[in-house]
């Protein structure tokens, strides 16, 4: 029931969600850690910046990304200086867009989780001769596990459904930037409702199965042997 082109779109969507989530966790974890721990009295500024993608309409975000990626924009100039070309219409460009778009969904749960770890367990670990990195990985991360779970799930799911941003900077290239949400939109625009239903159903099922597995896994293993 699903055309090959649509399967390709589905696979691309999953790939985008996976890569974006990984990048978000890598970037978001140190940022969330700093936000949770810093006592800087202007920290509300970076906090507001992180939350900005929550309130911006995705197409507005996408539009400004399009400008930023262009030859006169900051990212475009950077990529050109590095010897490359515009990142619009590329998978990398989509990853950048997804990272910006889903940033608050990853950073905020992580920040909350790190904050709730509190100072005491880390002080205890310090008195047990654990260095700062050691403390982070053996104490903060395990104790913040629910936050990591939420961040991963939200980041992944949010990217799966991303449309407005991809619409603006994607260019609809099969295998590169034609993700499932765009494919569904195209089918609807082209009055091919049966295919649209099929693809939408597939996307929904995959998302559901993923969510169920992640939450099921989290139920076990409350105690971890280090």
């Amino acid at each position: 029931m699903i055309a090959e082109a649509d399967l390709l779109a589905l696979v691309l969507t999953l790939k985008l969600a996976l890569v974006s989530t990984i990048v978000l966790l890598m970037l978001g974890t140190p940022l969330a850690w700093w936000l949770a721990r810093t006592r800087w009295r202007y920290k509300f500024i970076p906090e507001a910046l992180v939350a900005l993608p929550l309130v911006l309409p995705p197409t507005v975000l996408g539009f400004y990304l399009l400008l930023a990626l262009g030859p006169d924009g900051p990212i475009g100039r950077l990529s050109q200086a590095l010897g490359g070309h515009s990142l619009a219409f590329t998978f990398t460009g989509l990853v950048i867009g997804s990272v910006v778009y889903s940033l608050p969904f990853v950073v905020q749960p992580l920040q909350d989780a790190f904050a709730s770890v509190g100072r005491r367990p880390l002080e205890v670990a310090a008195t047990l001769r654990a260095s700062p990195w050691d403390r982070f990985f053996t104490i903060a991360v395990p104790l913040a596990r629910p936050g990591f779970l939420t961040a991963t799930v939200l980041g992944f799911a949010h990217t799966l459904g991303e449309f407005g941003v991809v619409l603006m900077i994607g260019g609809n290239i099969p295998g590169q930037t034609r993700v499932a949400s765009i494919a569904i939109y195209d089918r609807v625009e082209g009055l091919q409702y049966a295919q649209a239903h099929g693809l939408a159903a597939a996307l929904l099922s995959i998302s559901f199965v993923l969510l169920v597995s992640v939450y099921a896994l989290n139920r076990q293993h409350r105690i971890v042997r280090l």
Binding site: R120, V124, L128, R129, A130, R145, R222, I223
Partner: protein
């Protein structure tokens, strides 16, 4: 061999200056009411809080001096926090193992099995912290702190977070630690009973800073300090079990300056004990009494007298090398014409065995 501690602690409006030399072995207790800065001081020694211009040298290891500051994870110390603070995501074994894995290779090897036995944790190893009682958790915390082979153990009011009824559960462990450990311990408390039981050296902290720092037997009986003026003011006596009078269910405890007979049958001869003698359980006579039911009569010399209130007087006595405290009525003091240097006999009605 000493522990040198000098800090100017400032937290908000709170100020505390300390300049102390503590013994490099044995248990030193920092004693004082809440809010006087005991915990702040302990945290400063640990490096958990950093104060400018502090100095902390532990048995030759310089942890802080001027610009030099070792962060806590580079100091060879163990710290037991007031609230048990076990890692919730690890079981008991995991908690202790956490310390073990990061143990100081230069530190004195505390055989972990011994610590685990000492603290009687054998049956708890697989348990999760949330299933333990406050006392059990604190014992695990102590074992965990010892697992890093520290050169100094710091304990912040280890009994406070434990139910009063449970405190007796842990105190013996702390006391046996005191006996068994070679490393020095700095221990913070506001409970005189706890300090009496385990301390060798006491730092008395008041609202205005350090009031006194010295040997525990001395400080408990010093008439110029608040300790002697508590309702349960007492003196501490180090004794050794010399023998028993089995047919009467008594044990004979010898100390420097005399002996006590106590109704405690099962004591092993040769064992060292610490006794607590409440000042109000001590009465004085000018001549040794005969035909009395009081078993323990010690020959002493009056060191010092001080009025307690309108009716009572505290008397500091010396028997051999042992200090005793007596609380008697002013009238009696007057009638007996007590004065320093005088020989009197202390009749001790009851003696508490602290360990």
């Amino acid at each position: 061999m000493s522990i040198r501690v000098r800090f100017q602690i400032e937290r908000g409006t709170f100020r505390l200056g300390v300049d102390l030399d503590l013994p490099g072995s044995g248990m030193s207790s920092i004693f004082g009411p809440s809010g006087c800065g005991k915990t702040s001081l302990l945290r400063a020694v640990a490096g958990l809080d950093r104060y400018a211009d502090g100095q902390c040298v532990v048995n030759g290891l310089c942890w802080q001096d001027g610009d030099l500051f070792l962060p806590p994870h580079r100091r060879s110390l163990g710290y037991v926090f007031q609230e048990p603070s076990l890692f919730e995501h690890l079981d008991v074994r995991g908690n202790i193992h956490y310390g073990q894995k990061r143990a100081d290779p230069e530190g004195r090897r505390i055989a972990l099995d011994d610590a685990v036995d000492l603290l009687e944790l054998g049956g708890l190893m697989e348990r999760s912290p949330s299933t333990l009682s406050g006392g059990e958790r604190q014992r695990v915390a102590i074992a965990r702190a010892l697992a890093v082979n520290p050169r100094l153990l710091l304990m912040d009011e280890p009994l406070s977070a434990v139910d009063v009824s449970r405190r007796q559960e842990i105190l013996p462990y702390i006391e046996s630690l005191h006996r068994e450990l070679v490393i020095p311990v700095i221990h913070v408390s506001h409970l005189p009973g706890e300090v009496a039981q385990v301390a060798d050296h006491v730092v008395l902290l008041g609202q205005d800073g350090v009031e006194a720092s010295g040997d525990v037997h001395d400080l408990f009986t010093r008439l110029d300090l608040s300790l002697a003026h508590e309702s349960r003011a007492s003196s501490l006596v180090e004794a050794r079990v010399a023998g028993t009078e089995a047919e009467f269910g008594l044990a004979r405890l010898e100390f420097e300056g005399g002996q006590f007979l106590v109704t405690q049958g099962g004591l092993r001869p040769g064992r060292r004990v610490r006794l607590r003698v409440l000042a109000r359980d001590v009465s004085l006579t000018l001549e040794r009494q005969a035909d009395t039911s009081i078993l323990n009569i010690i020959e002493t010399t009056v060191q010092e007298l001080q009025g307690e209130d309108e009716a009572r007087v505290l008397v500091r006595l010396l028997a051999g090398g042992t200090l005793l405290l007596a609380s008697i009525t002013r009238k009696s003091a007057h009638d007996l014409a007590l004065e320093p240097g005088q020989r009197v006999f202390a009749q001790v009605k009851s003696v508490a065995l602290l360990a």
